[in-house]
Symmetry: C2
Subunit: 477 residues, 2 copies
């Protein structure tokens, strides 16, 4: 629990002092006592840095302080697309971040690789406005609409690539004024991608590519029914089988890779297709915009019937309204025994639930960029995760649908959390704790976690050594 007996002592000590009549010495002592309490709570306080890490930390904090100072001057410059130029971002992008614990399958891969898929054979495209607006994709033998090549010729390859990059993304971000509006647009992207990605021969390649781009554990999938060239639909178990086969293949070819698991996450509806593949399909979730969907409580009875090996990883509290039925999802997620909470944006308005999450060791999947893009909050400095960090509530940094906002799988989210949400003095200890948390709170079993931690640690030490060397180079110049 966060409120240790020692904290109680401090409260009582200050309560029994007439502070207004302190001597300057008393004031300084009391101030130092309270301050030290703050210093030793918070995410990352349990980490001890090595000598090499200390050296790396100095360089990181130097860059952080520089960007912080720029931000205090003009926080409006703190925007997504300029971040890649920042030296701090460059450092963070190379940091081994552990696992991406919250990612949705059809928005994992970079848009560049999605656009490559439009060059595959037998792709047809349905357009309106004389070919100006793409409405749907479809792989087929027979001609259902215009061939993709024809459209490419008509509009020019470069233009079409540019156009698709916009259609598959949430840009321009400023065009959404509300959460509901942003959600509608995002669901439109999913629809547009369906015909492209749900083509059975492509599905495995897409997932393989995602594994190449990053290590994704607990990939949330709505388990679409894949289709074949002749239009026939495969059973859903086939979708899982493809996932499984692709992963085996990838692991064989990349022995340094940890593992990947699936969380079956249909759109706010309980379906029983999760009973096969124990050990690979490890969890269950319900996704979709919570404001407009059914609350978790409505599915409680069915959910509790799911087999024991299926853990819960519920989306809950992804709202900035306070006290609507979306907040109730947080309560239900916890009481139903969820292992993690996706978003939980509203949990700081429910201190009892926040303390329960901490006590029950339920990690919150914090997705800073997603929250900004989906209009939950425009200013990172008001993100509720600051309170989670201060209260040392278990948390991981995650992304969700990074491709849609053209972000790196985790780097943008780490950057925003580190610079915009965490306190000014949060340093390498904070980064190390959150990276380690992604393995600690992953869906791996204990042995898997130990192995994963070992693999991660080797990469981490290498990264730290590189920064320390970089620092020494700078000093010797």
């Amino acid at each position: 629990m966060h409120q240790s007996p020692d904290e109680m002592t401090v409260l009582e000590m200050l309560g029994s002092t007439n502070l207004r009549q302190s001597t300057p010495e008393d004031y300084r002592i009391l101030r130092e006592i309270v301050n030290s309490f703050e210093r030793y709570s918070g995410v990352g306080n349990d980490i001890q840095l090595t000598l090499a890490e200390h050296a790396a930390n100095e360089l990181i904090m130097c860059e952080k302080t520089r960007e912080y100072a720029k931000g205090i001057m003009d926080p409006s410059k703190f925007v997504l697309h300029t971040v890649r130029k920042s030296p701090l971002f460059q450092i963070l992008s190379k940091m081994p971040k552990g696992a991406a614990l919250k990612v949705h399958d059809t928005s994992m891969c970079s848009l560049r690789s999605v656009i490559e898929l439009t060059y595959r054979e037998n792709l047809w495209v349905c357009t309106t406005q004389d070919g100006c607006r793409v409405e749907a994709f479809r792989f087929a033998k027979e001609k259902p609409k215009d061939p993709m090549e024809k459209l490419r010729e008509l509009r020019g390859e470069r233009n079409l690539r540019k156009y698709l990059l916009v259609r598959f993304s949430m840009y321009p971000l400023a065009s959404f004024t509300t959460n509901a509006h942003a959600w509608r647009h995002m669901m439109g992207i999913f629809d547009l991608l369906d015909g492209l990605l749900q083509y059975a021969p492509l599905w495995g390649d897409y997932y393989y590519n995602a594994l190449k781009e990053f290590y994704a554990d607990g990939v949330r999938t709505v388990l679409p029914q894949l289709y074949c060239l002749d239009g026939s639909l495969l059973p859903k178990r086939q979708t899982v089988q493809i996932y499984k086969d692709t992963l085996e293949q990838f692991k064989k070819e990349n022995p340094g890779f940890i593992d990947s698991k699936l969380i079956y996450a249909p759109i706010r509806h309980v379906q029983p297709e999760v009973k096969e593949f124990p050990g690979f399909v490890v969890g269950f979730d319900l996704v979709g915009q919570e404001d407009v969907g059914h609350p978790l409580s409505q599915f409680a009875e069915e959910l509790l019937k799911l087999p024991d090996h299926i853990n819960f990883y519920f989306h809950a509290g992804q709202t900035n309204w306070y006290g609507s039925h979306v907040d109730q999802n947080l309560l239900d997620a916890i009481v139903l025994g969820t292992k993690r909470i996706s978003h939980g944006y509203t949990i700081t308005k429910h201190p009892v639930l926040m303390r329960l999450a901490k006590y029950l060791n339920i990690a919150l999947e914090v997705c800073p960029v997603s929250n900004q893009v989906l209009q939950l909050g425009s200013d990172y400095r008001n993100h509720p995760a600051a309170t989670l960090i201060a209260e040392n509530v278990p948390m991981v940094i995650a992304s969700g649908n990074p491709a849609f906002w053209r972000a790196a799988p985790l780097s943008h989210d780490f950057y925003m959390a580190f610079l915009g949400i965490a306190p000014m003095n949060a340093d390498l200890k904070f980064l190390k704790r959150t990276a380690k948390n992604s393995i600690r709170y992953s869906s791996l079993k204990d042995e898997g976690k130990a192995e994963a931690m070992g693999k991660w640690k080797r990469k981490w030490d290498q990264w730290v050594a590189n920064i320390a060397a970089q620092k020494e180079n700078q000093e010797n110049k």
Copy 2:
């Protein structure tokens, strides 16, 4: 303390249950237990409503639910200048709100009444851009610049009124992109008003008018040196004397009025002019943009030397950066024995300090509209006061410089707190608790508080009776 032994029991009970394997019945019982904890914590939970209040509450909640539903559809409609049309705002504007505990003297009165002052005799005006831009006002016998009448003729009375309304205000609000930018603009308004309001014969009238517009307790004043028609400056004690005489006069003419006190609040500098007038000048504060001013700790020694009858009511933590020296002001305010904290916007990022505020019964002066206008947060739903409400930390709703955003002294802030910050189910109990808090945490002595509470209660009961009658009328139609 918020964490009662009972809460610990709930934590332990849930911790020792295998929630994932609950029966549906267990789930429902556990859910209800946790839920009831939430229901009985939070600001207002200690209030018992009378029968008449219950009736009034039904009408209020009916209007609130209606506006909430509109807001969920499109929160972007939730803006300041459209609020006055709302039926809920009409109800809240008539609600007896107790005292305005945070208001700065030169921005208390409505701009309409400030503009009336420009019709006084002997007013001269300094302009640039051929009379297009007003730079300063000055009362004088000799001609220092152009007479005000001449400018009025030149630009036309109606146009000039319109122009001054803009110059004296923070509109258009959207034109500020950062906190620092908004602050610069606000300091410009204060400068422009100086020559107008600091004219000795006017000062008393201005304060008298403020008392007419609302009951302001703990008015924060920088104690300007007033000037006379011949240009001579009065000693600062004269400024306080005028305040005191005007208040006496007002109280004589308005026996239902409670009282008003001054808090001496120089711009981040300790001056000793507060020792006279005990019982009227009751407090001390340091004001100004905290980011760019000196931290409280720098003044600690001098502050602790101020006489015992001067209480502290410090501005602190008015920032959305996390971990800068502005946050330290929060710590210092508390350790120096402050009675209230003005803003404390960043306190939810410092749980130890938040628990200290609760334990030491230090009320936070929450100013929703000010925070929005000064760019701390654009969306009320992310305002940190939601966590204060949930944690039942002492708080009052206050305004600051309401005239500058053309808001009513307290009604806009109550409306935004009630609809945008408090939970959906916050009702008349919440409103009553926050109104009562404004007296409980005022600078009055115990006897004064008892008397004030009596006066407030009579007005409150009348207001409740009126709403209940309104409801009955509606039902009989």
